[in-house]
Amino acid sequence: MNCRHLLDALSDYLDDQAAASLRADLEAHLAECRSCTVIVETSRRTLRIVTDVGSFEIPDELSERLLRKTMAGLASARGGASDPGAGDPEPGGTKSGS
């Protein structure tokens, strides 16, 4: 286990999805590597901040504006506007773009 290995497994470790044996190896490395300890701890704090601050919560004014626009668009579409060109939204419709 070295710093590169820890970085590769960082997300799984932060998400508690690392297998027990890998987790033990990571924690053994962390016990002797201050830089990786800092990286793990600050990454954990990053995720906590992203959650705690309510990132991209929608203010009520925006919700109301979105609703008004959408319902106006719906009324227009139901009034005889043409199909805006929806693709098949069923599973498999998403492409990677590669």
Binding site: C3, R4, L6, L7, D8, L10, S11, D12, D15, Q17, C33, R34, S35, C36, V38, I39, E41, T42, S43, R45, T46, L47, R48, I49, V50, T51, D52, V53, G54, S55, F56, E57, I58, D60, L62, S63, E64, R65, L66, L67, K69, T70, M71, G73, L74, A77, D83, P84, A86, D88, P89, E90, P91, G92, G93, T94, K95, S96, G97, S98
Partner: protein
């Protein structure tokens, strides 16, 4: 106007919502299915209720993809209208929110490609850009350094700066809290690719936040293997 999507949002539909109708709280998926069935019959109020329940997820997803609030706002309307026009295609095999999120992702990715802002969601060899550079410990309580509003503004600004493929991974996993498997499926990616994007997005975000939360002092040694 109540936009909470919770039980109060049923106000105005109460006459139609008899005791046999699923509850939004105890059976959200059944509640959605009931609304979808009514919307298919042309009941505009049912579609409006679906909007109220799901527009936040759709907006955040589109913001994650487009990176631009104004684009996300336009795309929300289009995504919901497409959903309405294709309600007959919703078979109930997945949750309505998943089906709707997939429509939103298709809409967002389509807009990005049309404007040349998204070439690929696949992994590219950019490893060197993702090695942590700032390895200073943060203050004990970094969040206390700023008000919640300041921290929110900072975090949102830095997330929007991430490359689209990393940004959308962070939004779906860390903000929407979707499982990796579901986020990968929605984006048409394998789980390993999604996880690579997520790791890179998280590391870039950590790097961007570090100067704001780490005290100014001598840096610790960089991790071994850096730059390899």
């Amino acid at each position: 106007m109540n936009l909470s999507g919770g039980p109060d949002s049923r106000t105005g539909m109460a006459d139609a919502a008899g005791p046999s109708i699923p509850s939004a709280e105890s059976d959200p998926e059944g509640f959605d299915l009931d609304l979808v069935a009514r919307a298919r019959q042309g009941e505009v109020e049912a579609f409006e209720a679906l909007f109220r329940r799901h527009h936040r997820v759709v907006y955040r997803t589109l913001l994650g993809i487009t990176g631009r609030p104004e684009d996300a706002e336009d795309a929300v309307q289009t995504a919901f209208l497409k959903a309405f026009q294709h309600l007959d295609q919703f078979q109930g095999a997945s949750r309505f929110s998943t089906w709707l999120t997939r429509i939103a992702i298709n809409e967002g990715l389509g807009r990005m490609r049309q404007t040349g802002r998204l070439e690929s969601l696949e992994v590219e060899d950019e490893e060197g850009e993702f090695m942590p550079r700032n390895v200073r410990a943060w203050d004990d309580d970094p969040e206390a350094l700023r008000s919640r509003a300041q921290a929110k503004e900072l975090v949102e600004r830095e997330i929007l700066k991430l490359p689209a493929k990393y940004r959308v991974a962070v939004v779906l996993r860390d903000i929407q809290q979707l499982p990796a498997e579901e986020a990968a499926q929605l984006l048409g990616l394998g789980v390993p690719t999604l996880k690579t994007h997520l790791l890179r997005g998280r590391l870039q975000l950590r790097e961007a936040l570090a100067p704001h939360f780490a005290p100014r002092r001598a840096a610790a040694p960089a991790p071994e293997g850096r730059g390899r």
